[in-house]
Amino acid sequence: MEPAPMKHKPFCNIRNLHVSFHGRTVLQKINFTLNNKGILVLVGPSGSGKTTFLRSLNRLNEYYPGYSGGGKIELNLSGSMQDIHCPNLELTELRRQVGMVFQTPNILPVSIAQNVNLPLKLVTGLNKAERKERLIEVLQEVHLWDEVKDRLKENSSRLSGGQQQRLCLARVLALKPKVLLLDEPTASLDFKASHRIEDLLLELQDRYQIIAVSHSLRQARKIAGQILVIKEGQIEHLLNKEQFGDQEMFQKLLNDIF
């Protein structure tokens, strides 16, 4: 039961989003509507508010001290646009539907299987057999199954960085999200492991709406359907494939921006 493809429908509508921490503005006057055209990659100088933007979409910013913010964000969650600040939408349910993978592999210090099982048990209420089934399904989805099928009870800290990151992805996918937020998912990985993750994201892009922050322009060009350039807390450009397809033009554009 895969989530239905959401090609070229609007999936994100943001009006006047602004966020500040301890009175210091991080994002301001963000307005845009986005159609589903593959992976959306956010690029921009460090400190420009990319991660904060990402965290606005699952309301994780509210966990940080000194947060204040406002504006309206609508996401296409269950076939229709939904205001994520709507009191009818439980925060826990929003975060289940808008999954997030962090910069460094953020595993729980338990076994490989338990990393996927614990969230499943707490959030979905599936029974044991269904959880087992889902575990296998998602580990196959991230191509980790063959590597770990004989050592599911081993502590997950024994996995390599790339494997851990794929496990984190599997943990999120197990909850059947609609949107995936990835905060520089390959930042702590080597070249080869990064490539694997990138290929994986390209495979997943039809099933989930993916929004990723990237620090690498090579990576952005490889995986993106659209690129959103953020600078000093504001949206500078929204580039489509034609605009960043030509490397020279893309480089020139970025040089103008930064």
Partner: protein, 293 residues
């Protein structure tokens, strides 16, 4: 200059480490050399037959057994009273308390931590006097009172270690729970506490050690020299540290001093056993948490 400083620090660290080693080693050697020869049936049970003495059918005089049992009961009871309170207070302070309230509470816990143990004992004693003069004329110092005062003594250790263990987890780690759609309770109990478990345990171990060795508190709240095995929660009891104290303070023969050393060795072993069982318990819990659920 910098190199010299580095070398100096290096040497000092070695000396300091070695110093600890030497001091602990000397202490152990002294205790073993003085105490080991006295260890035997005589030290534990005096003239009483062993099995009858163990099950309390025969009264043991001038020997360790009642004090061993007393100390074990005392520590377990104190831990039973203090652990749930201390650990849950620590969790509350670290994960739930509103900011200003947290500041006030932390101040109070620090105050409690700074209170000398003899004052805790005095407090227990005063409580009994108060109860006697008011609505419980039969109230007396007892095992329960001593354990409660000890619990009060070790409470701040437990609160501090639990709180700091939870607060020292990284921000990213704290976000795992919420980012997966856990509510706050689930995050605290399924993500944060298991990760902080080892540090929390070290607080438990420290406080158990502290409870086992304290003499000042129990001196005013129910320990006596020849109580025999503890006769229930409201009875008097004997305890190892108190026995060491009065043997060394009032010994009349070299043999008595020797048996004080033996007692010290036994106390050391007893705390060692308590430590390792706490450690084993933690291992089991960790194992169970790790299992496929």
């Amino acid at each position: 200059m910098n190199k010299l400083l580095n070398f100096g620090i290096y040497c000092w660290s070695w000396i300091a480490t070695f110093g600890v080693f030497i001091v602990v080693g000397l202490l152990l050697f002294y205790l073993l050399s003085q105490g080991l020869p006295t260890i035997g049936k005589e030290l534990f049970f005096g003239d009483a037959p062993v099995w009858e003495a163990i099950f309390g059918q025969v009264r043991v005089w001038d020997a360790l057994w009642p004090a061993c049992v007393g100390t074990v009961f005392l520590v377990l009871l104190a831990a039973l009273l203090a652990l749930p309170l201390g650990i849950s207070s620590g969790i509350y302070l670290a994960c739930f308390a509103p900011k200003t309230f947290k500041r006030i509470l932390s101040l109070l816990v620090e105050l409690l931590a700074g209170t000398p143990s003899i004052v805790m004992g005095l407090f227990g004693f005063a409580l009994i006097l108060f109860l006697r003069n008011t609505f419980l004329p039969d109230a007396n110092t007892s095992l329960l009172l001593a354990a409660a005062c000890l619990a009060l003594l070790i409470l701040p250790y437990l609160i501090f270690t639990t709180q700091s263990a939870l607060e020292s987890l990284s921000d990213e780690y704290r976000l795992i729970g919420p980012s997966l759609g856990f509510n706050q309770m689930q995050t605290v109990f399924h993500v944060l506490i298991p990760a902080a478990g080892r540090s929390i345990l070290s607080g438990v171990v420290l406080s158990i050690g502290r409870a086992a060795e304290d003499t000042a508190v129990i001196m005013l709240t129910g320990v006596i020299a020849n109580a025999g095995l503890p006769q229930g929660l409201l009875g008097k009891f004997e305890a190892l540290p108190f026995r060491i104290f009065y043997l060394t303070a009032e010994y009349r023969t070299p043999d008595e001093l020797g048996s004080a050393h033996g007692t010290a060795l036994v106390l050391l072993c007893l705390t060692g056993i308590l430590y390792s069982s706490a450690f084993a318990l933690h291992k089991t819990l960790e194992y169970r948490w790790n299992q496929h659920r």
